[in-house]
């Protein structure tokens, strides 16, 4: 672990990354299971292994792209990192503090630094509150600013995302999907947090609006020195926003690398399949790679050994027996796959 970060640190300096070489967020062996209860006494009979030993790091000022399909646990991971859910074990160190075990008062203070942008622009804003109230609510909770001061800050936030102070008095339903997402971004920004978790922020938007929002997020990151964890289910969106990419499958990270590496040389068979599955808007392009068979197994009953082995085109006998350990195949590029186990050793 130490060797990896040292290598990464050196690599970062060599690449001339201006962003701090400090880790803003370190997730270590995070586990979150959801019990499935049955019987009159509600005893747990099984567990949904939503997040099963995830370790990740995000550097200040950078964007970590987290990609995976349904059931992979990325949504749960996001909620645990933001303390909307309680982790079962493992640690989440944010700005030097372990937030999993934080006291409620510390937690409230920490919430100023971590905010979230939701996927659905229609249900993420309270339809009965004016936009001004929605955006200034965080200020009301965390600061002692007076109402005019709060509204002034809210107006500022609105302007930064491309809307105007007139919009303070309007209701969410008067805006389009893309505009509502901008309001959500304004709300997340108003406390000037360090980390913003973007939970599929463009999936529910029209195609011609997606790029507007992605560009906006990129601009805001530069202007405010933000760190993003960007969750998406499509690698094509991830490609354009991330500095590092982590691919999740059934509660585990299967591959984690700088964005360029992942897209140039994807190592894990699942990553390759994900990329091959995305239809490219070019009629002349042939589909490279094999279409994955079968469905994503249920996180209630993950396959033994490597969780991907039931769908893997390059499965070997060891895959159904032993879980692969994540190892570094090139500087900063980690893969959890038996194909590379020997190579690293």
């Amino acid at each position: 672990m130490m060797a990896a970060s040292a290598v990464e640190g050196v690599a970062a300096v060599e690449q001339g990354t201006a962003a701090g070489s400090e880790y803003l967020l370190r997730i270590d062996n995070l586990v979150k299971y959801f019990p499935v209860r049955a019987g009159a006494l509600g005893r747990a009979v099984n567990y949904v292994r939503a997040v099963d030993g995830v370790s990740l790091g995000v550097k200040s000022g950078q964007t970590l792209g987290l990609v995976g399909e349904s059931g992979c646990g990325k949504t749960t991971l996001a909620r645990v990192v933001l303390c909307l859910l309680q982790a079962d074990s493992g640690s989440v160190v944010f700005d030097g503090q372990d937030i999993v075990r934080a006291a409620p008062d510390d937690l409230r203070r920490l919430r100023r630094q971590m905010q979230i942008i939701f996927q659905d622009p229609f249900s993420s804003l309270n339809p009965r509150m004016k936009v001004g109230s929605i955006i200034s609510e965080p200020l009301k909770i965390h600061t002692k600013l007076s109402r005019p001061e709060r509204l002034a800050r809210a107006a500022e936030s609105l302007e930064v995302v491309g809307l105007g102070p007139r919009d303070l008095d309007r209701y969410p339903h008067e805006f389009s999907g893309g505009q509502r997402q901008r309001i959500g971004i304004a709300r997340a920004l108003v406390l000037r947090p360090k980390l913003i978790l973007c939970d599929e922020p463009v999936s529910a938007l029209d195609v011609s609006i997606q790029s507007q929002i992605l560009n906006l997020l990129r601009q805001l990151q530069q202007d405010f020195g933000l760190t993003y964890i960007f969750i998406a289910h499509g690698l094509n969106v991830i490609k354009h926003v991330s500095d590092r990419v982590a691919v999740m499958y059934l509660g585990k990270i299967v591959e984690e690398a700088p964005a360029d590496n992942v897209f140039r040389t994807p190592m894990h068979p699942y990553t390759q399949a994900l990329m091959a599955a995305i239809p490219v808007p070019n009629p002349a392009a042939r589909r490279i790679g094999v279409t994955l068979e079968g469905d994503v197994p249920s996180p209630l009953n993950p396959p033994p050994g490597c969780r991907f082995h039931t769908r893997c085109a390059q499965v070997m006998p060891v895959c159904s027996v032993e879980e692969p350990v994540s190892c570094e195949v090139s500087p900063g590029h980690r893969v959890a796959c038996h194909l590379f186990g020997d190579a690293a050793r």
């Binding site: 909307l84 249900s123 309270n126 339809p127 965080p138 909770i141």
Partner: protein, 293 residues
């Protein structure tokens, strides 16, 4: 994408007045119901001016008179003017109905909010509510009145207890849905305390079903109060209530049927008005609710 494109999920919270007027134009039921209710309310308010006689004035010489020019709806077995009694009876019905709606909504909403938001509270409290709801309303009310004693305040208390579980159940249902919505999660992420979330984010979204149900609870209260008074365990006999008047008329159904008909008719009209209003309101509120949430 829906088959019917949703009109800019917007136009709903225009001016409440404009929306209300347009609603009335569209729903004849609601308009009719509102009209009837307004009439009843007016009668109750202006009772001292509308009533032709003192409802408590005994005139045994004039007993069991058929409806005529002096007594528009006739007199009862002790000579009291039925018309005036029915007019004053509207006050009782409306008062009881309103107070029952108010208290059952207040307490029921509180219980529903807590149950919907806190799972542990839910398990215990809803069992109690289910238990209460298992009793037929009238029976439960009678049992409580028998325990408490026949007084107007006790009628209100008993009926409130009967309807609290129903309000709680409806509110709990809405809370369970709303608390999963993203904007509630957003409020938690911002660091809002639980009471703020319940008050400002969840409660406003419960209002629509509460309002709709209120009109039905009102109607039911009027009926229940009448039933209780008729059975003698409701409003004490010296206060004119529609149920009481009918009790008196029971023995004279052949001799003086007007003692039973007219209060009965009043009950029918009042409850009909309330139900029509509630039906129209519900039809109006539902499909739009699906769009807004």
């Amino acid at each position: 994408m829906a088959t019917v494109p949703a009109p800019a999920k917007g136009k709903i919270r225009r001016s409440a007045l404009a929306g209300g007027l347009r609603a009335l134009r569209r729903s004849k039921m609601m308009t009719l119901g509102l009209g009837i209710m307004s009439l009843v309310c007016l009668v109750a308010l202006l009772a001292p001016w509308i009533a032709t006689h003192d409802p408590l004035y005994l005139d045994p010489m004039n007993r069991l008179q058929a409806p005529g020019p002096d007594n528009w709806l006739g007199t009862d077995d002790v000579g009291r003017d039925v018309f005036s009694r029915v007019v004053y009876g509207s006050r009782v019905s409306l008062l009881v109905g309103a107070l029952v709606v108010l208290s059952s909504n207040l307490i029921g909403t509180l219980i529903g909010l807590m149950s919907g938001y806190y799972d542990k509270v839910d398990k215990v409290v809803m069992r109690v509510m289910d238990g209460l709801m298992a009793f037929p309303t009238t029976l439960l009310a009678i049992a409580m009145m028998a325990a408490l004693g026949a007084r107007m305040s006790n009628v209100i208390i008993a009926l409130s207890i009967v309807y609290i579980p129903r309000v709680a159940r409806v509110v709990r249902g809405v809370v369970l849905t709303v608390r999963e919505l993203a904007y509630v999660e957003a409020a938690v992420a911002i660091g809002a305390p639980a009471w703020k979330i319940m008050l400002f984010h969840i409660l406003p979204n419960c209002l629509d079903p509460i309002i709709v149900q209120s009109s039905f609870i009102f109607a039911q209260s009027v009926l229940s109060e009448a039933a209780l008074s008729y059975l003698g365990v409701g409003i004490p006999p010296w206060i004119p209530s529609w149920g009481n008047i009918m009790t008196g008329g029971r023995l004279f159904i052949n001799a003086a049927p007007w003692m039973t008909w007219f209060p009965g008719l009043a009950i029918i009209i009042c409850v009909l008005g309330l139900n029509l209003f509630g039906d129209g309101l519900r039809d109006l509120v539902d499909p739009r609710l699906r769009g807004v949430l």
